[in-house]
Assembly symmetry: C2
Amino acid sequence: MSGGKHLAKGSPKPTLPDDGVLRLFSMRFCPYAHRAHLVLNAKNIPYHAIFINLTEKPEWLTEFSPLGKVPALQLPKEEGNPALIESLIVAEYLDEKYPEVPLFPKDPLKKAQDKILIERFSSVVGALYKVFLGSTEAAPDALTEISKGFDIFEKELSSRGTPYFGGDKPGMLDYMIWPWFERTEMLKYLLPEKFELDKERFSKLVAWRDLMINDQAVKGHYLNGETHAKFMKARRDNVHDFDMLV
Amino acid sequence: MSGGKHLAKGSPKPTLPDDGVLRLFSMRFCPYAHRAHLVLNAKNIPYHAIFINLTEKPEWLTEFSPLGKVPALQLPKEEGNPALIESLIVAEYLDEKYPEVPLFPKDPLKKAQDKILIERFSSVVGALYKVFLGSTEAAPDALTEISKGFDIFEKELSSRGTPYFGGDKPGMLDYMIWPWFERTEMLKYLLPEKFELDKERFSKLVAWRDLMINDQAVKGHYLNGETHAKFMKARRDNVHDFDMLV
């Protein structure tokens, strides 16, 4: 809908087509928006993607996202064409509204336990971004924190005894943490010591990652580590090369 | 179950009684734990409360709450007696597991919109705590931020045209933001200028607050502004007087 180009300040507001199709306001390299793409793909829900320049935001963005963040999901079939924000809220909405391909477990306890793991993953996110963006001095401590965080998920996958957190196929927990695992692949391009997941310590996670890369929903929005690293390297120099792939 | 006293380092682990009743690990003045008390009360779910000293934490706390936070809700009827953490996850679990008194709207869109408002309330929380804990120099900016945050909820209540956010009775949104509205009453004891909600700018919210104070679930865990202020004044001097009410 924005043809992959990131709409910036001064861009005319994209007109709402009369097709009733969901509109996702996104940014190609945003891991939170990535979550919404994955859920939409996994559920085979058609959608228009509108990419947003997050440093020079279009004036009309706050009509859809009051805090100017992505993802925002506009619902053209609903009265007033409202938009939802916050990746986890968008994900759970989609899971409830489009139950044909369920992603969260039906059992309230199992669902709550998966949500707690998603929440606990946020400590890994903080450490990862320190390394992605940060100086190499900060890296050793942050790498330790990342590995400790991954330990929780390795242990969990091991105790579940299934290839995916969701069982025989990816569920909500898999998709909600995937954007950062995909980005972990950029560490071998960003760090001098070419960091990779320890294949013994993280044997289950490594197998899981290899399966996830071949999942249809993941493939639909996948970028390799080298591409993620290229965007991040520019960002380290304060260059936001949103349209790098267009 | 802890008799209102906050269990500290060295306290023996409370034994699990054979009654199948939920156990809530809480701290009497914690607004996040407050949310869990409200949901349990609103749904008439019996529970044991175990209060925790959060500065000198009991060694066994991490068995129930891996990050040592409250609330944590232990579920003795479930296999392995698991515990859930994170106030919003606990609240939504209870709403799904005990649907007799529903708190979230059934409609996925309305539910998502209420969750977004709960999320947006967190900017108010940050500003409130600046004032609760902070120097009077920080106060004017933070008070402006609080009022701007409250504007969103005033407008929302006005557009809903109902006494509560949940309609004719309080729903999840009402209970999730209430702990901080209850604590806003302490501002008249903490600030020299005796801050109160502007009765014209916030006419709907003032009427809502007056109704909420008389709600049974709220009454079951209510403390007045003076009591909250007393706890907070001590905390400003780095004294955590957890057992103030025991």
